[in-house]
């Protein structure tokens, strides 16, 4: 049976949905990847990791053992996240806007301004796209929210990446939240999966 393979952060994992709450070990069956896989009649492998950065998502994609029939969907995360490898080679993901230690946050902002982080994300997206094109017949890439600045800073080499205008954060804004009052709730995932299914069906 063909697989739906999804990549992303906590919004793809379904963090704080009622069936998993704050358990980080198993993705939620109420999250949009699971609902979408049911609608598409595909097996699901949800590779999302809460708190991950875009370079972390890219790493998951690169390491994944795809088969040609897989359908991959990536929901890229917020740009203010990064991954730093420590001296032992262990990766750590950070969301710099949420770092409480002021000195670390200000140092990160000295180096990586919001434009730098967005353009770096374009590189990761381009990298993933070439990889998908070499391995799969079907893949879809989504952005988590609508950010006009992101398109303004699109590098010249990005000529053929257009993201569907469907943003998970729009659903979070208008529908009841999950248990932490921050992530998307059950209906948010349900409607997002439904709209994504319609989009995919129309694309076919």
């Amino acid at each position: 049976m063909a697989r739906l393979v999804t990549f992303g952060c906590s919004h793809t994992f379904g963090q704080y949905l009622p069936d998993i709450q704050d358990n980080h070990s198993v993705a939620s069956k109420l999250a949009w990847p699971s609902l979408l896989a049911n609608k598409l009649n595909l097996e699901l492998d949800n590779q999302a990791i809460p708190g991950i950065s875009n370079i972390g998502i890219l790493e998951s994609i690169i390491k994944y053992d795809f088969t040609k029939e897989d359908y991959a969907i990536v929901m890229w995360t917020y740009y203010d996240r990064d991954r730093i490898w420590d001296m032992d080679g262990k990766p750590h993901n950070y969301q710099f806007a949420h770092i409480s230690k002021f000195s670390t946050k200000s140092k990160w902002l000295d180096v990586h301004n919001p434009i730098d982080t967005r353009i770096r994300s374009w590189f990761y997206i381009h990298h993933a796209k070439i990889l998908f094109e070499s391995k799969l017949d079907k893949f879809l890439m989504l952005l988590i929210h609508h950010d006009p600045e992101f398109n303004i800073h699109k590098p010249y080499f990005i000529t053929d990446i257009d993201f569907p205008k469907i943003y998970f954060c729009d659903y979070i804004k208008i529908l009841p939240k999950a248990l932490d009052e921050n992530h998307g709730g059950v209906n948010c995932h349900r409607y997002f999966a439904l709209d994504l299914f319609t989009l995919i069906r129309n694309m076919k």
Binding site: K63, D110, H126, H127
Partner: protein
């Protein structure tokens, strides 16, 4: 006519060679005709586009590669640079290239000091593996033949090699080893004329030798 397209830093640009030096320190305005890309193109009887730039980091080299319009018949050679370099995009979108620990303005000194607090040697080497993998996939889809080289055969870099790095082939020819063997260029730092000649000869041998079946 087939084209040789090269990317890299000052060692590919030919910084310091007699036709590529200003005021005994600065690189010339154009890549040197005495640098290895030019010598190799002559040996191969190919046209040449030398896309190298002095001071480039591996991130910047990737940036140049994917912004360059390649033709399917191009032969591409990338001599990746030192790891202690990085590139950041400034708020106006312009690129700033720097070598960690070296800055000529107070503003960038602050950037570099902060960079050192956030990043480290392992982090920048791991990132280089991603840049190289990105370039590898891109070139694989864009041209028939391409080769990657390192300046130095550096153990800490190989120790960090992720599984995906094993897909990438590097030619076992190191510019850094020849740097030590021959007199330096006019700036006293970069490879001199003989260094470039021998490097071009080694590369020619590697590229043209019959492959084992």
């Amino acid at each position: 006519m087939t084209r040789l397209v090269t990317f890299g830093c000052s060692h590919t640009y030919g910084h310091g060679l007699p036709d590529c030096i200003i005021d005994k320190t600065l690189p010339g305005l154009y890549p040197s005709k005495l640098a290895w890309p030019s010598l190799l193109a002559t040996k191969l009887n190919y046209d040449l586009y030398n896309g190298a730039m002095p001071g480039m980091s591996n991130f910047a080299i990737l940036d140049i590669i994917i912004n360059f319009k390649l033709e399917p018949d191009d032969l591409v050679i990338v001599l990746w640079s030192y790891f202690e370099r990085d590139m950041i995009f400034q708020k106006n979108g312009r690129r700033h290239h720097f070598r960690v620990g070296k800055s000529n303005t107070l503003f960038f000194k602050k950037v570099i000091d902060s960079w050192l607090d956030i990043h480290n040697e392992t982090d920048i080497r791991m990132r280089s593996w991603y840049y190289m993998h990105h370039a590898h996939l891109y070139l694989k889809s864009a041209v028939k033949k391409y080769y990657f080289l390192h300046v130095n055969n550096e153990t800490p870099f190989w120790d960090l090699q992720p599984n995906f790095g094993k897909e990438i082939n590097f030619l076992p020819v190191y510019f850094g080893e020849l740097l030590e063997k021959y007199p330096r260029a006019g700036d006293g730092k970069h490879g001199g004329v003989e260094c470039h000649i021998e490097f071009a000869n080694h590369l020619f041998e590697e590229i043209t030798k019959p492959k084992m079946v």
